[in-house]
Symmetry: C2
Subunit: 333 residues, 2 copies
Amino acid sequence: MKYLTNDKLVIVGAAGMIGSNMAQTALMMKLTPNVCLYDPYAPALKGVAEELFHCAFEGANITFTSDISEALKGASYIVNSGGAARKAGMTREDLLKGNAEIAAQFGKDVKLYCPDVKHIVIIFNPADITGLITLIYSGLKPSQVSTLAALDSTRLQSELSKYFKIPASEIDNCRTYGGHGEQMAVFASTTKVQGVPLTQLIGTDKLPMKDWDELKIRVVQGGKNIIELRGRSSFQSPSYISVEMIAAAMGGPSFPWPSGCYVSDSRFNHIMMAMETTLDKTGVHYKEVKGTPEEEKELENSYKHLCKLRDEVIEMGVLPPIDKWNSLNSNII
Amino acid sequence: MKYLTNDKLVIVGAAGMIGSNMAQTALMMKLTPNVCLYDPYAPALKGVAEELFHCAFEGANITFTSDISEALKGASYIVNSGGAARKAGMTREDLLKGNAEIAAQFGKDVKLYCPDVKHIVIIFNPADITGLITLIYSGLKPSQVSTLAALDSTRLQSELSKYFKIPASEIDNCRTYGGHGEQMAVFASTTKVQGVPLTQLIGTDKLPMKDWDELKIRVVQGGKNIIELRGRSSFQSPSYISVEMIAAAMGGPSFPWPSGCYVSDSRFNHIMMAMETTLDKTGVHYKEVKGTPEEEKELENSYKHLCKLRDEVIEMGVLPPIDKWNSLNSNII
């Protein structure tokens, strides 16, 4: 029974639907025997641990704790799904503030208890913002924190597969960039359908503009659709994909989809968002994104939307102004 | 991306927590690309399929349908978690009758739509009974139908691991036989703890009789405990273990735990229950179970309990009397 590494992997939010699935997934992928489950909700956490004990994963060393210092001590890798869900009566701002504060505390805990952690994947919403906050407070390098952004791209692939009635494997390089959700930028120009650039199909009999516009809406609303169909938020796909991300950071197969990462260059500044990325043992790194003028415009809009969210969090006092970030994290210039 | 086989695997009850986890597990284990999800509840089923599409499993060919004939057509392997859950106001007998009828219809559907199926794993409760009914109506050979029984054994291993504070891997050959649940027979004489027979530890300072009795209760109530802790029935462990079973039947790693199987010999007759089994490409086969006189007595009691349940189902008219079974399934003598 070979594991990829013996390094400690911590699942934050392990009592939840996503976290518990991530733990099972990581053990099934044989990433490491040393999986530590953390959640503040102790009884449900214990229930998840029991379930995993009963799976009898060969050679596994599963631990669980509601003490964050114990959880993070010696951690090499972390996947964090430990945000709060939106509850009745909460505004969008309430949710943003709540999860932003959770991310800030988590970043501080990382700095205190596991400054030598190798990579962290953040998946609780809005992940672009919670990932950014984690990065700043943790003191880590930008290459060490990534966020789950790939689901929009896999949803684009899935919708194209259904539309053309062909296997998903015949549709290459689906890409959405920028923010996650309504404000994402869907790039058609990167995609090939059975070898043919998608941009050559859009607006023809094969994919009339109206159908393409509707398809893009289905991509954007992919998560909402799951809630309507299943009566619960998606948890299997965010779990599986984010464990694929941490597997890549551990030295497993390289991650083939875009990740959210810290971006700061002449065009996009002091932001975390989905870019064309590589994610491997060296961490997450991005390349410049190139699309049609219309796609570039969409990406600009997505970036502006994220800047607005970031600035809200600064106004709330959860993040300091940008020019003070460097004093919290010297890796942020 | 190598799969173990290209044979069609059908997940019955795929919209549920167990079924949806089984589908993800089977795809992650790369058992076959051809996974068909069946559930009568179409919207939730579609939601599960969407989640799996969004995982973008390489090379996967995931289909879904609420038409049982379409689902079973060409099926080589089936895992069935498609029973009803106990609802408020239902008696134990209501639940038994309901799931027995579901199993009878499923067996008939197998005979009609996929008589060439290779192996079926049944996991909906009471699995010993629903598995037996499936076998009789399907016309399959006894080696082709197995039931999930291993969780009691993995729970015994887990409880001993916690009690002795040693890794589960240092506890070998934990075994419970007979029925599942309250009436199981926990065998201590098969187990070794760090090489020492468990029977040599019971009643000593290392494991006083009172502690052993309490530990056995925790094993029996392992499932109930999950409900209390987690607020829902266990789903990750039954899912993972049953997919391990079907993997073994497909020619994957041999299954290391007891399975429920059809038993008919001079001692136990016309019953399905957990025995010492092998489960591999040739199907499920059992060996005689040997224990201490006390353990043998417990197993007898467990068998008698199952006979009582079986006879209830015969009285309900869901199964014909035993001497008529052969006319439904010529493999049952």
